[in-house]
Amino acid sequence: MITPYALKLAIQSLLKEKWINLLSVLTIAAGLLIISISFLVLYNIDIATKRLPEKFSMTVYLDNSLQRDRLDSVIDSFKKRKAVLSVKYISKDEAIRELKSSLKNSDYILEGLEENPLPASLEIKLREDDVRAETAQQLAGEALKIKGVTEVDYGDKFLSTLNTIKKGFKAIGLVFVAILSTGIIFVCYSTVKILFYRRTEEIETFKLLGATKGFIRTPFIIEGAVIGACGGLLSLAGCFFFYYALLMRLSINMPVFKSVLFPANLFMPLPVIGMLLGITGATIALGRLKY
């Protein structure tokens, strides 16, 4: 239980051991700042990869002999699927027109053709969350079973590469966060351990006078929490400095940095995260100490 006296003891110790505490705060702040900057990089990569699916579409090639009423039922069967966002019919004429416009000045290569060799097709766009190799593969398999569908092109390599990139960055991010969080916990753990050893005699007197473990522990846990929270607060300030004073200034000469997004609200819990890591470190330290 946090009593006013436990709070008083914690504040006294924080002030008395100011140098070791300051060092711990700076170390924690540095750790959290590195985590935050890594998060900022990952966040921007994630946003960039999320935009790619907007450009992704499946092309379902249709049999030339497909009748209009049959075509409508094929389109409907795709539209009914949950993963499908939109279905656009591209007729043979439209297809050749698009090809010509994309060839621009090189359209002479089509001049020798007596008839339009391009098939009619359906351009299917998937919902953002369903742009996955598995979903597209499943849909392609089902499409091929439909009478009138001759071929499906769904960019499987593009999708699996995109997924691998996303998973890779997530894994690297998680490992990075785990390593640095452990480091921060270890800093708090070591700090509390040192503070504890420096007060061994006092703690022995506390015990002999009838103090419970809770009475002895609470000030140290408060200290861990304050050290962690201060580290978090400092890292939060560091994040804003990094973005506004560094990236934004750099963007004057290097416009590429202008597109970097800064989700300020996602960084706001840093002091709380620091505090929780501090409490964890202090609790582990106190659990391992014999007193």
């Binding site: 009593t3 006092e202 007197t205 506390f206 015990k207 002999l208 006078l209 009838g210 103090a211 419970t212």
Partner: protein, 220 residues
């Protein structure tokens, strides 16, 4: 209140207390005497659970302490006020803070702590030294601060280890008077001392220890 039954305590194969049995009733005042190294301090440490017996049983105010759980030790210690031989005052805290600590540990409110700590300081005639630090006090004054800290929670048992060890006769007499007053309030007191003047003509029980053995019992 205190019950020793065939208690033995060894330190590295050297016996500090051997097969000691005695009882102290509620409100009783007992002097424990004997030469240095006779086991007086060890016996007190066994009572406040700074040491555990190798053999025998110790019962403190109903608590059987041989197999006591770690979490119950503070409960036993809160029944006991201790006047340590080495004082154990916190050097970085004022006299008031040192005395108040005994109450804060017991969860007494700040308001009550303040009033009781000052009352205890008055009892030992050190009210004017409340803001001083232990290092600035004389040995006799420090001894009285330790007594004030021991009595402020109004414990059922008061243990004192050589409470007049380094005091001049006048100050020692003052300390003896304080113990008498506390005893008059019904506190069980056990004083380890080799100062004969402290128990002479008191009419109280005197237990004699020698090389860890309880060798005699009489009245002071």
């Amino acid at each position: 209140m205190i019950d020793f039954q065939n208690v033995t305590k060894d330190y590295d194969n050297q016996t500090a207390i051997r097969d000691v049995s005695f009882s102290a009733g509620k409100g009783e005042m007992i002097f424990l005497t004997g030469p240095s190294g006779s086991g007086k301090s060890t016996l007190l440490k066994l009572i406040y659970l700074a040491e555990r017996p190798d053999n025998g049983e110790i019962i403190i105010d109903g608590f059987e302490t041989s197999n006591i759980r770690e979490s119950s030790i503070p409960l036993v210690r809160r029944k006991i006020g201790i006047v340590f031989q080495d004082f154990r005052l916190l050097e970085n805290r004022t006299v008031f803070e040192n005395i108040a600590l005994a109450l804060r540990i017991r969860g007494v409110s700040e308001r009550e702590t303040k009033s009781r700590a000052y009352d205890a300081l008055k009892t030992v005639n050190l009210r004017h030294k409340s803001d001083s630090y232990p290092k600035t006090l004389s040995g006799g004054e420090q001894q009285r601060v330790v007594i004030a800290r021991a009595i402020v929670p109004e414990p059922a048992i008061l243990l004192a280890d050589e409470p007049t060890g380094n005091l001049d006769p006048d100050t020692a007499e003052g300390v003896a008077r304080i113990f008498k007053d506390i005893h008059a309030k019904g506190t069980t007191i056990l004083i380890a001392t080799h100062n004969r003047d402290l128990y002479k003509n008191t009419g109280k029980r005197v237990l004699r220890l020698d090389s860890g053995n309880l060798t005699g019992e009489g009245l002071g």
